[in-house]
Symmetry: C2
Subunit: 370 residues, 2 copies
Amino acid sequence: MKLNLATLIVLGLSTTVCMAQSSGIKDDFKPSALNQPGQEYPQVNSQGYARFKIFAPKADSVKVSLGLGGRGGTQLTKNDQGYFTGTTEGPMDQGFHYYHLTVDGGTFNDPGALNFYGSTRWESGIEIPAHDQDFYALKDVPHGNVQQILFPSKSTNTSRRAFVYTPPGYASDSKTRYPVLYLQHGWGEDETAWMNQGHANLIMDNLIAEGKVKPFIIVNTYGMTNEVKWGKMRDFSIIPFQTVLVDELIPYVDANFRTLANQANRAMAGLSMGGMETHTITLNKPEVFSYYALLSGGTYNPAEIKDKSKVKLIFLSCGSKENPERVKSATEELKKAGINAVSYVSEDTAHEFLTWRRSLRELAPKLFRN
Amino acid sequence: MKLNLATLIVLGLSTTVCMAQSSGIKDDFKPSALNQPGQEYPQVNSQGYARFKIFAPKADSVKVSLGLGGRGGTQLTKNDQGYFTGTTEGPMDQGFHYYHLTVDGGTFNDPGALNFYGSTRWESGIEIPAHDQDFYALKDVPHGNVQQILFPSKSTNTSRRAFVYTPPGYASDSKTRYPVLYLQHGWGEDETAWMNQGHANLIMDNLIAEGKVKPFIIVNTYGMTNEVKWGKMRDFSIIPFQTVLVDELIPYVDANFRTLANQANRAMAGLSMGGMETHTITLNKPEVFSYYALLSGGTYNPAEIKDKSKVKLIFLSCGSKENPERVKSATEELKKAGINAVSYVSEDTAHEFLTWRRSLRELAPKLFRN
């Protein structure tokens, strides 16, 4: 059926195909890897163009929030079968992108795509295949587990949720203890982001299968980042989250998982606003963490580090389309001050998840080594 | 702000309020428990009416698929601020319901609600508070963990996903072994259903805290039910799923979790089409399971049970709005044949998740007791 359709297009609509070719858009569109089961749209091609198809026969206007930066997205065109279709004006950055539809002025998700929590709501997600996507692919290797835990929090009077990645072999063995990375999401996201959008579990499974990392546990919880509006970050107080993380979650994880429960075996990292949180909490609690990582999340000034002997690693990263010079120069300053600092710049990516997937791939082998 | 608005309505719109009162709809609407963070709509009132509010200023028509059975849902009315609002014509059954919007002829989810996988797509969900909702509430009791596992499947040449509930204490202890219930979703759903829609983990946490059940592990995986279209169930072959479950998943779980790995400590249950699967697989594999449960999923005929000594329990249930007489009479027939059979009918519910949450509450204390 699919083949017949493709044949039809090539034979019957050769003019259109020629036009498409002359515009330079290759006709090798495939369903996005993040589509709902059985859904043909949205699609992406090998150049990174995204194509959308939305059924809304009585609607006047359907627009997609994705497109070239700042140009306000992609307006779709209606055909006489009631489908709105359209292709992004240019190729998108490789990797994961959030988006939504505007249907006659209202905000809805694409019924073809899976949803991911970002921008303080469940948004549609699309995946532009990256040239290096193999490192976060689901492969036939031993897999770690991702478990939802509900931990008691007296300070907020709630049961709070966290996700815990345990490496392959954790469940069948009963003796080995592991170091722990506390890994935070960004503003508008929550504790689901690193596993759903970030594929942190698959990145770890693959690195472990290749023998590139010393296996460790990863913990994600909600950083309470969305209690403050975007652009008013200065109003954010770290204390409520720091209390949940350091006084409630860490003791719970240490009591319920086979952790190496000490500063030498504990890391904290975060992306974007999660980097801001990591920066503040690691400086406030030098006795708790020894490895620090900010992914598109700012830098450390050597003067902020009171006891340099307690810091085993500072890892700073961002996308090449962000501010890599700031990350690089901050790393040099830290090195000059005698701190083990490393920087990483993700090529051709901006403030988005491919930057952070790659950052985790680069960070993980450097953790818990010294 | 909310208070002011409520005051305004009472003072300024007393005519409307009187009309609403005379129509018998109580004005105590609250956001559904399944709304996205911070979303005020959809709302439900104490009588079970649901109220919707959708922003789509340039749309002509917004309809909600929920309403009274068979009457085609609830047509919303547009106000001059661009919001479509409306209330179901009558009260809804208590518990969980899937729904979607039809916006100018296209199918979209409600941007205010969380999404749940049903009808082979991620649908909006709404929760009508049940009078007995306490049994699946998140309480301040010890919580078990729900973990995603990716297990190798040679027969399908994939890594397949399952969710495993381990009871409180499983993670911190390293010796105790537990029986296992393999618990299946229905047609159109997947392995996320029992934890997301069913709150199976919270039901277990609460029952364990009350000392009402012998703690056990629960495993949910995808029953491959959606490979066949609704209404063509007779075309469904059980063999591919039976192979994944019995030859691949069970050995993986037994190798990676502290299970009691024998027939006496293994149960299978399923809802709706998952009940059909349970019925067939338990009869095909009497050496694998000893406790069988069909939740709105058919019955057993005593003549089907070849070796009655191998069956420790048959549990049959449904909602009172389904076909309770069939469940009750089948149970009597099984008892007459010397089988330990129990039936349960959920009051005032139909083919929906409150029936199945209650069925799990009734089933769990009867498992692994003899």
